[in-house]
Every structure is written in C-alpha cells, then in structure tokens.
Amino acid sequence: MTSIDAPIARIAVIGGGIVGWSAAVALRRRVPGVAVTIVATPPPPDALADRIAQTLPSTIGFHDDLGLGEDDAVLRAGGVWRLGTEFEDWAPGRPPYVHAYGSCGQPFGTASFHHHWLRAARDGTAAPFEAHAPAAMLARAGRMPIPPTGIVAEAQAAVMLDVPRYRAMLEAFARHLGVEVRDGDVATVRLRGEDGFVDAVLLADGSAVTADVFVDAAGPGAVVRGAIDDAWEDWQRWLRCDRLVTAEGAAERSTGLDRVQAMPAGWRWRTPTPDRTSHGCCYASAFMSDADAQQVLAAAGATAMTPAVAFRQGTRPEPWARNCVAIGDAATVIEPLEFTNLHLAHSAIDRIVAMLPGRACHPLEIADYNRQAQAEVVRVRDFVLCHYATAQRAEPFWRDLPALPDSLARTLAAFRERGRLPFFEEETFSRDDWLTVLIGQGAMPRRIDPLIETTDVADSERAMAAYRAAIGQAVSRCPDLDAYLHSQRKRLGR
C-alpha cells in the first residue's frame, strides 16, 4: 500500500474582495481543521466577480452551506432579492423576453413541454414561452416566490448585493471563525526550487505568508497563479466586449427584474432597488468610446459614474497548477451578461472544498479538478455567447462572428434541427434557461419533434392554457417584492 501525502493544514487566500472573503469563510467553515490566512488586498477595479452586484440563485445555496441565513447574508448586508432579467432589443422586432430562474412548463404526454410549445408556435397559436414559466411571471409581476409550495416552488430568487456591506459581513464572519487576516500588497511570490510549488507570498512590508495551498482571488492579474504560468484561452474573437462603465441612480421601487438592453456596440443594464438604481454599460472599445458609454448611462438618469474598466475575456485552461488555484477573475474573465461572475467563483470554491487534495497536490487530483472546472466554465461561456450568436442585429459589432466553439455549435445545431438540447456534464444553466434565450431571440427549430404527434393539438392547447391559468392564480397570491422587502427590513429594525 502506498503512503499518502499529509492533509492540508493551512490555506492562504490572496485577495480581499467578496471572492477572496467568500473563499476564506467557506474553507475555514467547511473543511474541518484547516487554518486559513487571507491577504486582504482590495481587489483591482477590473476584478468583475468582486464588483458585480447581481448574482444567481446559487448564491443562496452557497450561504446555506455556510450556515448563513437570509437575515444575515441578505437583509442585514443590504441585499435585495432579484428574480430575473428582461432582455430587450437583442432580436429587433421581437418582444422583450424574461429570463428568470426556474422551470418553464410542465411535461405531459410522451414529450417535454417545449415540444408542445414549439408545435403551437409553428401553428401560430402559442402564448409567449415565458407565460409558462412561474419564475418569469413572478418577475414580471414583481412578486416574491413565497411561500415556496406548489407552482411557486418552481421559481428561485437570487440576490442583488450591496457589495461593500456584503464584503464587510463576510469579513466579520471570517474573523469570527478565526481566519487570520493580513493586510498589504503582494510584492513577490517565491517558488520552491525542487518542484516549483509556491513556497511563500512576500508582502510589501517584507513579511511572508506561507501555506500548503494558495487560492488566488486577486483579480485578473493573478499575482500568485501567474507566477507559475500564464497559459490563457482567449475568447475575444467571440466575446468582443472589453469595457465596462458602472454608475448609480436614484432609489426606486424594487421590482426584482433588471433590464438588459442591447445597443449598437454592446449592452447596458438597469436594476432599480429601494436604495439606489444600478446602471452598467458593457461594450467593445473598437466600436464605442468610453465617453459615449458614459453619455448613454447619463441619459438613462445615472450619476456617480466610475471610470471605464478594461478587460479581456477568456479563461485559464488549468486554474489549478501545483499548489495554487485561481478563482474569480484570476481564473476566468467574462462579461457580466447573465451575471455569472460570482456564481463561477462560488462554484470554484465549492469544488475546492469537495476535491481538496493532500499537501502533495497529486497531479491526478489536480487534473480531475481542472477537468470539472473547465467543463463548467466552457458551458457558461457558451450560454453567454449564445446571446450574441442568436442575436439579430445589423451593426458591425454584432455581425460576422467567427466559427463558434464546438460545444455551442452542437447545441445550436441540435436545437435548430429539431428543438433538442444535448446534455453536457457540469452545465450551470438548465435546459429551460437555454430554451428561454433561444426562443426569446427567435431561434426556432427547422422541424417539430415527431414524439409530439401522439398528443392531440387540442389536448396540448388545453394543458398549456390550464398551466398558464394556474400560474396566474399562484402569482396573484404571492407578496409584492418591494413591500415584502420593507416588511422584512422593518422586522429586523432596519
């Protein structure tokens, strides 16, 4: 029997944004007996996962695993619930569509729901696809999926963070858990002679941070992981946006629905909350100037403009090398369309917890981690890219995408042929998420799946209408999101 390497005793997290603090808390809390040090350098402005306030429902699952309830992780940290996004002008001539989080339709007969819907759409009798999605209808109505029973349980809420307060909450929690906090910038990274492992991170004041494993959450510069290698898979030929301007506007009623509107050279968002309205403009510098982007947001009522941030989309094919794993923007830089940034970071943290190797970071264990991480990231990229690949706009920014990645090409080909979506391991977005975007942007299959023919058209129509009616009734019983938020804040005395 071969002897095995000793367990990891200490992990150092580099980076003091919400990604770094999330990692420090999760590792300390969920891996028994591991000591955690964080080098809490404030994240650079181009660390998108540390900056973007909109998150996916997975954030709530991440909180659950930490034992953090909604009162602490959402309400006391200044968060509000968000239910989904309304996409506008991505396919001119088509109505805006809502992508919220949950199922769409109910299967009946021998075929999945969407085949019923696609047949009705072909015949010109279909109600909007989203009318069969409880989550989308709740988002349109601005109502909370509460109580989560029956049809309402099909919808999941996500969180819109108040980033500085959320970071402060995580920091307080980390200190409470006994995470060692070090301040200062990283000056150099010292590699071990014999195997190239990270030996220590030296701070500007000359002190050293040592650990068995280093988690690089320092933003796209990847100051630690980058000391090992700089292999990078570039996505810019497909994902052309490379600038972001954010701003704030006046407080409004919270609807839980943000608006994401396509523009001639990118897109912009607008998310109203009772504390402020969040604005952002994501664009390609080759087609739009920073001044024009700021002008767009100003015209939408935004003030408190941040300077434009430059980024370049892509990923590290091997986020984990030797004893260093990159997360957040150190691993993957992706535009905030669909707000996957913090989700990817949280998912990487979950994966580190679940797959933590021993001190030797055996190549097989690292390869298994990288295989899963890569599979996940590639499909998130595909989902974001799908918005561009199926958009129908005429401006130069939107035209002439080069050949798509194989995985996305396969999804699109299968859908366009017959409305089928192939299965991928580690997929973040469900089949219904994909369908919402594909159908919302007008990508329709060439033919109807023959499996649907065993169900009469009239039966399909009846079942769909009954489900829409049931959604309508269920939604009308749910509380108004803004009123609910205020009542919860009042309960906590805020």
Binding site: R30, E365, D368, E417, F423, P450, T454
Partner: protein
Amino acid sequence: MVVVGGGTSGWMAATALAKLLPSRCTVELVESEAIGIIGVGEATLPHIRAFNERLGIVEAEFMAATRATFKLGIEFRDWGRIGDSYIHPFGTFGRGSGEVQFHHYYTRLLRDGVPLPPIESYSMACSLARANRFGQPARDPQQIASTFGYAYQFDAVAFAPYLRRIAEGLGARRTEGRIVAAERDSRSGDVTALVLEDGRRVQGDLFVDCSGFVALLIGKELAEPFEDWSRWLPADRAVAIPCRTATAVTPYTSAIAMPSGWRWRIPLQHRTGNGYVFASDFLSESAATDALLGAVEGTPLADPRILRFKAGRRARSWVNNVVAVGLASGFLEPLESTSLYLVQQAITALIELFPEKRIAPVDRDEFNRLINMEYDRVRDFLILHYHATERDDSPFWTYVRTMPIPDSLAEKMALFKRRGRVVKYREGAFLDASWVSVYLGQRVVPTGADPRAAAPSTDSLVAGLDRMRGEIAAAVGAMPAHAAFLAGYCPMRAAT
C-alpha cells in the same frame, strides 16, 4: 422503418417505435423462426422500469407473463479473494443525502481502527436482498425505505412474444422470412430493401439492425469496423444451462468467480438460469461445461448451450440509414446486466433523434456519440471487476490482475485509492454507489481521508451508523419474503 431480427432487442425497438412514433413510421419487423433467439434468462437494471412505463406496460402483468422476479442488486462471490462476497445494490449506502458521501465516513472509521461490518450493512437494498425479502420502495424521501430501486430478472424467451403482442396491437407488422441479401443505393450507399429467401423484397427508409451477433446490415453489409476490447475483457464464450429452482428465489442475481471467468445465477419464478462465461484461451468448451454442471444447484432442464462472442463495439452504431441495436452494435458480457440497458439506451436515443427521410448528420453524429459513451463507461466498470483482484490461483486471474488497463480506468482507480473520490458524472449506467460497492467489495480501499469527513467524533459517527443499521433492520423486517410478495403480486401463468 424496418426492424431486422425478432429477438428481445428487435421487439423492444418495434414496440417503442410503434407506440411513440405512430404517425411517423410504419414498423415492419422481419424475423425468421428458423433462427433462435439468445435468451438465457435476463437480468436487468432499474432503467428498464422507465422504459416499460413509457410503453404502458403494467408491471404485475408483465412479470407474470415473463415469470419474473425482483432484483435488488448483484451478489459477487469470490472476486477480490476466494471466499469474499458483496452485493452491488440498486440504491445508496447510508441515506445518500448530504454533502459528504457515506463511504467517506465509513472508510474513515475503518482507518481509525473501528471494527465495522461490511458497508452493505448500511444499504437498504443489500440488507433486503440478504434477507430474501422484497417490498416496493417508499415514496417519502425521509424514510430509509426510499433509498433503493429495483429491476427484474425475467425469461427473455417469454419477453419477446409478450412485446410482440403489444407491438402488433399497435400496428407493427411482422414478416416471416430469412434475409439473404440487401439492396443498396449506388450513390448514397443507403440500404433500400432486404431480399428474402423466397424472393420477396422488403423496402424501407430506415433499417434497425437487431440481427444479433450476425450483424447482417451494420457488419456484413456496411462493414462498419468493430473495436475489439478482448485484451481487457478476454472472456469470449459462455455455456448456459437452465435448472429447476432448488432453493428460495433470491431477489438478486449472483455472479460467482470461476477459475477462468465467472458464472451467473439468475433466479426466475419457475427455474434458475445458469451460465459460465469464460475465456477460451484459458479453458475449453467441454471443460467449462463440466465445471458448470458440477457447480449448479438443482436439476438441469435442458442440454448445455454454447455462445461465442467477442467484447467490443462498432466504431459507429448508426451508419447511413442503418441503426444497430443490441448485439449487432456491440457486446459486453452480462456481468453487470447491461445488455438490455444498452438496447434501451439505443432505442431511446433513436426515438429522440428520429430522422426524416433525409437523415441529418447532426442527429446521426449525436446518436453515435451518446451510444459510444455508454459503451465506453460500461466497459471500464466491467474491467474493474477483473482487475481489482488479489486472486493468483489460475492463469486467467493472473492475466486480468496484471494486464494493462485503459487510462480512463487507471485514473478512476487511482483517485479512489487516494482519498475515496469517485469520478463524477451524471449520465451513464453506474453512478457513485455502484463504483463504491465494487471498489470496497474487491478490497480497493482509500489510503487517505476526505478532509470533510474528519469533523464528527468517532463516537458520534459510530452511534449514527448503529442507528442507521437499526432503522434498516426495522424497515427490512416490515417487508414480506420475496417469494410471498411474488405469489401475491404476479404469480406466473402456467407455461404456454
């Protein structure tokens, strides 16, 4: 739409297509009564239940007609070492919920030096099987009795006619005749018609090749290459003998390792199927027959039959307008009861990707990708059974113990040996618990701990495990004997 061959796979395909795509195709099945079907008593995986349900098959009626019994898993005897026995269950170990899998805690306690019974004591499916009891799983996920599934053991010779009645009721047409030739389109290479011995022609747009090992269309006609896996799975013969059931009807299949392979024991209501799967490089057919006759319990009901095969699969199962299903597409020995599972996956994929008259390459490629993935994953799982052994008592076991294995399997085994990690995927026949049962059952034990399993104290873990065994014992005790359940639920009809 023409189905070539009327064995189990042929009638499964014909029934499913007639049921689910009635307006899209007319199903014609060509078979010859002169050609026998390979039906040796079939053990299945739980997936078959979803397939039957989709076809509208009533479980009790189907079980009575095929003299079926319930199956909670497979018992493996003498694999890791002579004298070992474990069950690969259809169900989880522990409750199967929670972030950290049960086996991490279990193996941690073993390493801590705590004496524990085998891991199967913490599986509802295994415990039910060992007690020879059966009951339907509970629906409430809180109950321990919800943590198992089941499949069937049935008479495959009776299953095909049972399906045939359903298929013909749905409008499928059966044509009797021996196929002597196929006509092809000279430009595309597509098959256009089958020519029967008496000169009749059967035309079609799509041909489903269920002709078995002969592989009439995919092999003989289209010459699709066969990927030979016999260097990893050297067994290439089986000898089969049905016996009168001598002992209680067990709710599980047994796979008992033999000096040059293994033998199956599949209990049906009226008889027990037995067979010895062996490698002809190591054992002659007559010696294998003698060994089997010496090992079986009960009186033989027929003469021994020899089957010859080779492990592997076609490079592609769908070529031109020919879709191979079952033995025509590939063969993996029945060690983990995957034969009908692979048939079912092929039929399901064909229905999901059913083409128009002009076949879209995107559909065909996707079908081949899916089917190849299924075969490859089952292959690795089967090789594990042979390779993870300490047996050195025969040249056969020494060969499989020391043979080079595929990289994909070597990596999986190394990851488990280090820290008990099971390579994760959501699709495929065998998920976490299956791999864990074979690893631990064949003495592949992790040397290191999953750090997440370190938190609870030894005492609290042991107490939790004891409680779980108590819960399982109570749930098992509340269920009837397997034979009694069968007698009340689906007594077999008189043999026809």
